[in-house]
């Protein structure tokens, strides 16, 4: 009797509040991509300032999304993930220094090198957990950073300016900032789809299962470490692509791309946007980098002039201007309270505000 209403296929996905697949999980990424696809039209031509900021948001979203595979789905808090942005960027920088600018060559090179570095980082870290895992990934990330600063031939501490953006099948396609922007957006979209597919696959289910209970998955016969390591390599390789894009956007490569606080930024993006939901990385990057731009502007250009110092200086006005200047310079003092608000009112990240849902 019940058999007619119970279809196993529809029950394999976690049941969501209200039944059926969550609208938020479908609408949220579509909204994001539509918004960014339309941006150049809103801006009109010539506004490369905003477009460059938007490009950076997309690149950070890509890097954070790759981290989500291991952090959000695999519960591995990697504090060295920015290393892969840096390595991806350096592959482009160093190759360009040697006259190799063709992306058809440098892309597979980046994937291979970042994958290999991820294999190394993963091999020594996936067996550990908690603080130990954080410390190991942090240490290896810093190793990559110091490695880059010691590359005297390629600019050392100062970094390296590219000869130009990458060639795409021998064309200067990426030379135009708007075209580059759309290439970045398309790359992000492709990686979003790719990661969504992986998360929903057999492999993704095992990864999610490990996140739920490592002990149970071991008892089922899954070699947990091998799955973790594989996820690590996939995430590292995809993050390397973010590095390629960043190098092309800035036409500059620097050790600063892989400092530990860049890795922390990636984690903050996921915490803000929502862990274990790939589209969380999209909104998290928009919010974090948006704040990075908006807070200094708000305090130095809008709030500071509201109260002018009295004649001869001093008084409330001077104090006010001083406070605004300090906040504008140290925008992260605002970030702390925002993270607290997210923790209080949007546990699971901003995307939970769009509607309750199960993990995709």
């Amino acid at each position: 009797m019940a058999d007619t209403t119970l279809d196993p296929a529809t029950m394999a996905a976690p049941q969501r509040a209200g039944g059926g697949p969550s609208m938020a999980a479908i609408v949220s990424p579509l909204l994001f991509f539509a918004l960014f696809a339309g941006l150049p039209f809103l801006l009109g031509s010539g506004d490369t300032f905003v477009l460059t900021i938007a490009s950076r948001i997309l690149i950070m979203a890509l890097a954070a999304m790759s981290l989500d595979l291991i952090l959000g789905y695999g519960a591995m808090v990697s504090f060295g993930h920015a290393a892969f942005i840096g390595i991806g960027a350096y592959v482009i920088g160093i190759a360009s220094e040697h006259g190799m600018e063709e992306i058809a060559i440098t892309l597979p090179m980046t994937l291979a090198i970042c994958g290999a570095f991820a294999l190394l980082m993963g091999a020594v870290s996936v067996r550990t957990s908690g603080i130990q895992f954080i410390m190991i990934t942090l240490a290896i990330g810093q190793m990559a950073y110091f490695g880059a600063t010691s590359l005297a031939r390629y600019g050392g501490d100062d970094g390296l300016t590219l000869w130009g953006r990458s060639l795409v099948f021998d064309t200067r396609l990426l030379g135009d900032t708007t075209t580059l922007y759309y290439v970045i957006l398309a790359t992000l979209a492709v990686c979003y789809v790719l990661l969504s597919v992986i998360v929903a696959s057999r492999f993704g289910r095992v990864l999610r299962g490990i996140n739920e209970s490592e002990k149970r998955m071991e008892a089922l016969g899954y070699p947990v470490d091998r799955f973790r390591l594989t996820a690590f390599v996939i995430a590292g390789a995809i993050c390397g692509v973010a590095g390629i894009l960043l190098a092309n956007l800035t036409e500059f490569v620097s050790p600063a791309y892989m400092t530990w606080d860049r890795s922390a930024d990636l984690i903050i993006i996921l915490v803000i946007g929502g862990l274990g939901r790939l589209h969380g990385a999209l909104w998290g990057a928009l919010v974090l980098l948006g704040l990075e731009e908006a807070i200094p502007w708000l305090f130095s250009d809008i709030l500071a002039p509201l109260v002018s110092p009295v004649e001869g200086g001093g008084g409330f006005g001077a104090w006010w201007q001083h406070v605004c200047a300090v906040i504008a310079e140290n925008w992260r003092v605002i970030l702390g309270p925002i993270l607290v608000l997210v923790a209080l009112y949007a546990r699971g990240g901003l995307v939970t505000l769009l509607g309750r849902e199960g993990r995709a």
């Binding site: 296929a9 029950m11 976690p14 899954y222 199960g358």
Partner: protein, 257 residues
Amino acid sequence: MSALVVDGLKKRYGGLTVTDDVSITVEEGEIHAVIGPNGAGKTTLVKQICGDVAPDEGSVSLYGRDVTHYSVHRRAQMGLGRTFQITCLLEGFTVLENVATALQAKRGSSFRFFRPVATERALNDAAFALIARVGLAERAGERVANLSHGEHRKLELAVALATEPKVLLLDEPLAGTGPEEVEPLIVLLGEARKSVPILLIDHDMHAVFSLAHRVTVLVNGRVIATGSPAEIRTNPAVLEAYLGEEGELAHTEAAGA
């Protein structure tokens, strides 16, 4: 050949000897029950068989192969299935997904990255059949976190069966299930036994004595008796150990007579 051979297993925690020279075999087609008072070392024995805990001495063999130094997942891959005394399930997954995840471990590679696993009919149908077998059909789409304690126990059993084990270790599978739910589960275990030999630990003496072909009694980490249910019921050492405890055996004996 014995399905499972535990030989001279010893485990000490500090000054406490939790497993004291334990030897047990499980033969094909049998249910071998291990009973004993709380703290006797039953769970610790299961953990050493599974590889969660390394024994200080002794060996564990599966179908003739010494697996004493094998990892947990390797033993599981070789066909060692188990349930946990303290339920260990994928809480965020649905009932169906829990069982399908278990099936997936034995049916084809899990290093597949592109096909959506939720649409794999073969996995889903087999999972659903097992869920129906333990009486959870109506709950197949429910998240595990929303299940009752008794339902957790049943799912724990379905998941263990889904690993398609060659030897099954059940650590108190009936604990926490309601009185009217126990009988169907006893029937289920009796059926399961035909396809997989079982090492059964339970405090439910009625279940143990109606299912087991052999019973081993563990007290303070030591085997004090092994034999048929009839032999165990009348074994003086066992009666003494149990009468001192709760008098449960005497009770079942009276009920069975």
